[in-house]
């Protein structure tokens, strides 16, 4: 792919001609060396085989810059229009490169309205092509150049023609272009066109429309959105589940600008419908975007019943039959906790946690562990609740057979270290984990121990933790674990104070140093530790 920042940079970006390509060109050596950029370009496109054509097309922006703006407009662009309109069409790779290269010409070479306008027919043609990547690139190109165009009627009539085409390819491209076109032109007609797309026969078109729905709606002002609201409902109730799932997720982008009154009336029922949809795919998609959707509804304290309704929907997703849906929903648990606040947490979510923590699917458990850690931050939940609700779960997580789950908890425990005082079960688990099989777990423990020291005090550390855990980890066979210990020594110093270090830790270190004549690695570790202490 051509780089977008500077296409004319090092020659390494430009294609190298090959023998096969050259063979297909009819001109002789003398003729070739005298050809201007345009002739050479045209020759490769007319006579060459595919390779020659692609090579030539990749040099399009070079040709354009070599010709300069005037010549480009007068000769190159008309030629390119013919290239694009050719029947049967050129190879897909040629057309794809054409779309990409045209973007490079704007805004440096062609910037004013009259200069950019001629590109439009070419891109319109390319966006009707069969091959998806060509179409996508053409849509990208149109979105790139349309801010430079003042002649809005041209843009609108292009959109109209695309939507009126008989095959779905053009319509799908139109769906991709509409948001940006509307942003630029603010033409009403585009709204009606988009509505037609949403009601089209072919599921492919409806899918494309649903995909860009959020983006399109976010450009509209309130009264216009109200007009188009039936479309949203229609798409959320479409018979194809693939359309429904895209429409439901698009709600995340629609809500933010509008008042809670409207969102509760318009969007809330759709959220409810989506969370109880028959097809697990729709529920899954909604679950994956749930916190964004919830946030976009803009509900504040004045709408407690609506908020608990949303929470109820979330709960339904958390208890869904399909593991994938549950996993998707759990991923948003932390955000929903912060959104809902402590009251909603105790009323709706707290009861579910044990079941989720024990779920059959590993993904759910590991995401749940992460979610618990995330939700304990930020002050939303008061400490007593955290201790009461989370402690048993955390203990279970730490004993989980999958290291991923254990790691999520370990790596984040430092955030609630001030509470560790009250979670003795958790602490004893940590100690046993310092001997875990998986080295990452041991590393996590090593990182955690200084925090524990801070929380429980140095006496606890020296009596309980030091001998079995800290020293063992310091001498661990895996380098990363030792490094974690070394980093931890610095924190220990802060916590413990110099005296303690000199009294207890240092003699131990020296003892190890003397005894580990065999392993230079151990000695290095000790030395690094000393460096930290200084």
């Amino acid at each position: 792919m051509m780089s977008q920042n500077n296409p004319l940079e090092a020659p390494s970006h430009s294609p190298t001609p090959s023998l096969t390509m050259v063979r297909s060109l009819p001109q002789g050596v003398d003729e070739l060396s005298a050809m201007g950029p345009l002739e050479l370009f045209q020759s490769q496109l007319e006579h060459g085989l595919t390779e020659a054509k692609v090579d030539g097309m990749k040099r399009l922006s070079v040709v354009a810059y070599a010709l300069g703006t005037e010549a480009t407009l007068s000769s190159l662009i008309p030629y390119l229009t013919n290239v694009a309109m050719k029947q049967p069409p050129h190879e897909d790779e040629v057309l794809l490169t054409l779309a990409a290269q045209l973007q490079l010409m704007v805004p440096n070479l062609l910037s004013s309205n009259t200069q950019v306008l001629p590109l439009l027919p070419i891109l319109e043609r390319l966006s009707t092509m069969e091959e998806t990547v060509v179409r996508d690139e053409a849509v990208k190109a149109v979105n790139h150049i349309s801010p430079h165009i003042d002649d809005f009627t041209q843009l609108t009539s292009m959109a109209k023609r695309l939507v009126a085409a008989d095959w779905f390819t053009a319509k799908v491209s139109a769906a991709g272009m509409c948001p940006t076109l509307f942003k630029v032109t603010q033409e009403d007609d585009l709204r009606f066109l988009y509505r037609d797309l949403c009601q089209d026969d072919t599921p492919m078109v409806r899918r494309a429309a649903a995909m860009h729905l959020g983006e399109f709606f976010s450009q509209l002002s309130f009264d216009k959105v109200q007009e188009l609201q039936p479309i949203l409902e229609h798409l959320c109730g479409d018979e194809q589940d693939s359309v429904r799932l895209l429409a439901v997720a698009s709600m995340a982008q629609i809500g933010p600008k509008f008042s809670p009154d409207w969102t509760t009336q318009a969007l809330l029922p759709l959220v409810k419908q989506g969370s109880t949809d028959l097809s697990w795919r729709v529920r899954h998609n909604l679950a994956k975007a749930f916190s964004d959707v919830a946030l976009s509804l803009n509900l504040n304290e004045n709408y407690p019943s609506q908020k608990s309704l949303i929470m109820a929907c979330f709960v339904a997703l958390l208890q869904d039959q399909e593991g994938e849906v549950r996993a998707g929903a759990v991923g948003h648990l932390a955000k929903m906790v912060h959104w809902g606040g402590a009251t909603l947490f105790t009323s709706h979510l707290q009861a579910l946690l044990p079941a989720l923590a024990d779920d059959v699917v590993v993904d759910v458990r590991s995401k749940c562990a992460l979610a618990l850690m995330d939700s304990s931050e930020g002050g939303t939940l008061p400490d007593p609740i955290i201790v009461k609700a989370f402690t048993p779960l955390l203990e279970n997580f730490l004993q989980d057979e999958y290291a991923e789950v254990q790691l999520h908890v370990l790596n984040n425990l430092s955030r609630i270290s001030h509470l560790l005082n009250q979670m003795s079960g958790v602490v004893s688990n940590i100690i046993s984990m310092s001997k875990a099989q998986n080295w990452r777990v041991r590393q996590g423990v090593a990182e955690l121990l200084p925090h524990l020291a801070e929380a429980r005090g140095m006496d606890f550390f020296s009596t309980v933790l030091q001998e079995p855990a800290w020293m063992a980890l310091m001498l661990d066979s895996v380098a990363d674990v030792r490094l974690a210990c070394v980093a931890g020594v610095a924190k220990l110093c802060n916590v413990a104070g110099d005296d303690w270090i000199v009294q207890s830790l240092l003699p131990q270190h020296i003892k190890i140093y003397d005894h580990s004549a065999n392993s230079y690695l151990m000695r290095i570790t000790i030395l690094q530790g000393h460096a930290q202490m200084a």
């Binding site: 430009s14 001609p17 050259v22 002789g28 060396s33 950029p37 050479l40 040099r59 049967p88 897909d92």
Partner: protein, 397 residues
């Protein structure tokens, strides 16, 4: 409806349901039992079947390689199978006539059936195939809808996701549908060929259903010989240059198509076909070259088709260079031998012409190298000019 996720739950209930269903099937298998298929009972019957069958399929197993892994069998099969059996008896039964039944076996239901083809369980797909085929045969008014639904599924495969488990079965049904098309082919059917079947050559997983796809393509050619040109152009457009396995498959398909290529159509595609074959012979992968050379082993093609001596004048200049290179020092003995044989064949056709080609080739080679240097230099110069221009533009803007 019982959930089969955890096999031990509610075992007794599940067994009872299965027993009841089995009894039903046995009952309708007898002639007396058939009488129950009256219109009166149809709404309830379709309700029951709809609720059991029409479900969203469970999430696909990740990284399922159809050739390697065992398919994941549907856990609810004990019930599903009997329901399918029952429904099949219903559709096939002579007691059920299309006019009355079509209100209940409606387009929405057919749509659900087509969606179910994505199931990972091959037994289910087998049942679906038979059932859908019967429905197509029996309910004439639903035919166009079923074709459109299948087309939509294929569009999705080609343009959006590339995974679908049921393409072979759907194509098998299509094969017999195409077989039943009347000549001359309707516009709708031709559009189906160009917009659906030919693009089906594109996805990576074409190996799974290539056999059935070939059959469908051949059916089209047999119905209307002119479609060959459309098909050849399409196949060349989607030729998988970067995947050698697929290329070998495409070459076999090409052989089938060429056998049906008549002299009129040959005139139109002659140059394209052999330029294309020349590129195949040039391939770096020996299996592709070998497969292309084996085309000349095909008696039909050599005696009366596009590879015969009548066509040699057009063919030889295009493929001479590649043949010569392969016959003279290819690392693979088979390829070398095959290439030499093909050259020998053309020498026997027309010696004079052969010699002319040889001399032309030698002259070309020398010129090409010099051309390459010239072109590379010329483009470098142009790039320098362009750079300079761009600097000016950026400073003035």
């Amino acid at each position: 409806i019982f959930s089969f996720d955890d096999p031990t739950i509610d075992k007794r209930g599940k067994d009872m349901k299965r027993q009841t269903l089995l009894e039903l099937v046995n009952y309708v298998n007898s002639p007396v039992g058939q009488k129950i298929f009256t219109e009166f009972i149809m709404p309830d019957l379709m309700d029951c079947i709809g609720v059991n069958l029409c479900r969203t399929l469970s999430p696909a197993t990740d990284e399922f390689d159809p050739e390697e892994d065992e398919p994941a069998f549907e856990p609810a099969w004990p019930h599903l199978q009997v329901v399918y059996e029952f429904f099949l008896r219903f559709i096939v039964s002579s007691e059920v006539n299309a006019k009355s039944a079509k209100k209940y076996v409606d387009t929405k239901f057919c749509f659900q059936l087509v969606e179910l083809f994505d199931s990972e369980d091959p037994r289910e797909r087998d049942y679906l195939k038979t059932i859908l085929h019967r429905i197509y045969a029996k309910f004439i008014s639903h035919r166009s809808f079923i074709r459109r639904a299948i087309a939509n599924v294929f569009y999705r495969i080609v343009y959006e996701t590339e995974r679908h488990n049921g393409i072979e079965e759907l194509l098998e049904i299509l094969g017999s549908i195409i077989n039943g098309y009347s000549i001359p082919l309707k516009q709708e059917h031709l559009q189906f060929l160009t917009r659906v079947l030919i693009p089906l050559h594109k996805p990576k997983c074409v190996a799974l259903y290539h056999q059935q796809l070939r059959y469908c393509i051949i059916q089209y050619i047999e119905k209307d010989a002119d479609t060959v040109i459309l098909i050849l152009n399409g196949v060349f457009k989607y030729w998988p240059w970067s995947c050698s396995e697929k290329q070998v498959m495409f070459l076999s398909e090409l052989e089938d198509i060429l056998e049906l290529l008549g002299p009129d159509q040959l005139e139109e595609v002659n140059t394209i076909l052999f330029t294309h074959l020349a590129l195949c012979l040039d391939s770096n992968h020996f299996q592709v070259v070998e497969r292309a050379l084996i085309l000349w082993d095909n008696e039909e093609l050599v005696n009366s088709g596009c590879l015969s001596c009548l066509n040699a004048q057009t063919v030889l200049p295009l493929i001479y260079r590649s043949l010569y290179k392969n016959s003279n020092g290819h690392w693979n003995d088979t390829v070398e031998g095959l290439a030499q044989e093909v050259l020998k064949m053309y020498r026997e056709y027309d010696l004079v012409f052969y010699d002319k080609c040889t001399t032309a080739y030698i002259q070309e080679e020398g010129k090409t190298k010099r051309k390459l240097e010239t072109i590379a230099k010329r483009w470098e110069k142009i790039e320098e000019e362009a750079m300079a221009n761009k600097q000016i533009l950026m400073t003035t803007n």
